[in-house]
């Protein structure tokens, strides 16, 4: 099934978002990744690539990202990884929840999961 990766500048934020999304995710693999590798805020391409590889079981991976350089580093990681991976242009938490639900659909594909993640762009809260 399609796997998910949640990338944040903060490793703890990534873990928290995965915790929220996992409630809806069934057996979907969701990997959190974040931080600059030295205990600080940031993102590192190698770590994201490792998370993508860990989330992939052959059906591809949708990557959720937070801001700025996280997008670029995820882009680098997707380029380096052998897995078929795409970045969703979506808010990171809402997109992760949507993607987690979509991934549990037996007919889910990489495209359908990404589309559902990106549908979170239109979520209104009030």
């Amino acid at each position: 099934m399609v796997g998910l990766v949640v990338v944040s500048h903060s490793g703890r934020a990534a873990e928290g978002i995965v915790e929220v999304a996992a409630e809806m995710a069934g057996d979907t693999r969701i990997e959190p990744v974040g931080g600059d590798g030295q205990g600080g805020i940031g993102t590192v391409p190698d770590a994201i690539e490792a998370a993508v590889d860990a989330a992939d079981d052959g059906d591809g991976v949708v990557v959720l990202v937070d801001l700025g350089s996280a997008v670029m580093n995820a882009d680098v990681a997707v380029e380096m990884s052998d897995a078929e991976a795409v970045i969703a242009d979506a808010p990171v938490l809402e997109g992760a929840v949507n993607a987690a639900v979509a991934a549990t659909d037996p007919s889910a594909t990489l495209d359908s999961v990404r589309e559902q993640a990106e549908a979170a762009r239109g979520v209104e809260k009030l």
Partner: protein, 260 residues
């Protein structure tokens, strides 16, 4: 271009080229360390004041990694430098400066020739533009790289200048590009959050790119046992030639006929 056809006059094999590229990386690392405070000063005016420290740390690690390679050839050095920068620099500069090295190193399969250097430069610029979604005039590193890459390509392909002179012109072009970042408004990167207040500030990333190119030029001159040529990115003025075929006397102006 075949090895026999190389125009740098050198007989450098891959190992010698590799050693020269390692020397260039070491020179860049030293230069960025020397400029660390200046870069941070530029960044503190419009960004988060970490560019000098990040780049100095990244390039020092890149120089270490390049030195540790067993059989460095230009491609392996560029790939190693890129990967190290991505891992160590942090922020957007890691993927922009480093990721583009990794990607463009694919152009160096057959070592460094005038032709592969142009391909490397074009691919590098393209990757920075795509990844950063930045164009000329956004007050970013693209403003230094674009004139440098265009001038280098034109000097090699159209003017058929020796590579060292082409590179010297490219450095002059980059310097003009850095100056161009001062009076324009930032549209990308951290500085863009400042809106109009970004006008009047020199872009730190463009400045770093200039230092890198300056050191590349100095090391290339060194490796070729030459002086750094005194170069100017401007071309001689092309005389205004009005085709004087108004009277139907177009002799000499007509395109050559492809007769058989």
């Amino acid at each position: 271009m075949s090895r026999e056809g190389r125009t740098d006059g050198g007989t450098a094999d891959e190992a010698t080229e590799g050693a020269a590229v390692v020397a260039a990386v070491e020179a860049v690392a030293d230069r960025i360390e020397d400029e660390r405070d200046h870069l941070t000063e530029l960044d503190s005016a419009i960004g988060d004041a970490d560019h000098g420290g990040n780049m100095a740390r990244g390039w020092a690690a890149a120089a270490d990694a390049a030195r540790d390679l067993d059989d460095p050839d230009p491609q392996s050095v560029c790939r190693t430098v890129g990967k190290t920068l991505m891992a160590e620099v942090g922020g957007a500069s890691g993927p922009l400066f480093g990721g583009s090295f990794v990607f463009a190193s694919a152009e160096l399969d057959d070592g460094v020739t005038a032709e592969s250097a142009v391909a490397f430069a074009e691919t590098y610029l393209q990757k920075v533009e795509d990844r950063g979604d930045a164009r000329v005039g956004d007050q970013t590193v693209v403003d230094a790289l674009t004139p440098a890459v265009h001038t280098f390509k034109k000097s090699i392909e159209t003017d058929e200048l020796p590579p060292l002179e082409a590179l010297a012109k490219a450095v002059d072009a980059a310097e003009r590009g850095v100056a161009f970042t001062v009076p324009i408004r930032a549209k990308k990167g951290r500085a863009s959050y400042l809106g109009w207040r970004s006008v009047g500030h020199q872009d730190p990333g463009a400045t770093s790119a200039l230092y890198i190119l300056e050191e590349l030029l100095a090391t290339a001159a060194d490796a070729l046992d030459s002086e750094v040529p005194d170069a100017d990115a401007t071309s001689p003025t092309i005389p205004d030639e009005e085709p004087d075929d108004a009277a139907g006397d177009g002799e000499g102006d007509a395109p050559p006929e492809d007769g058989d």
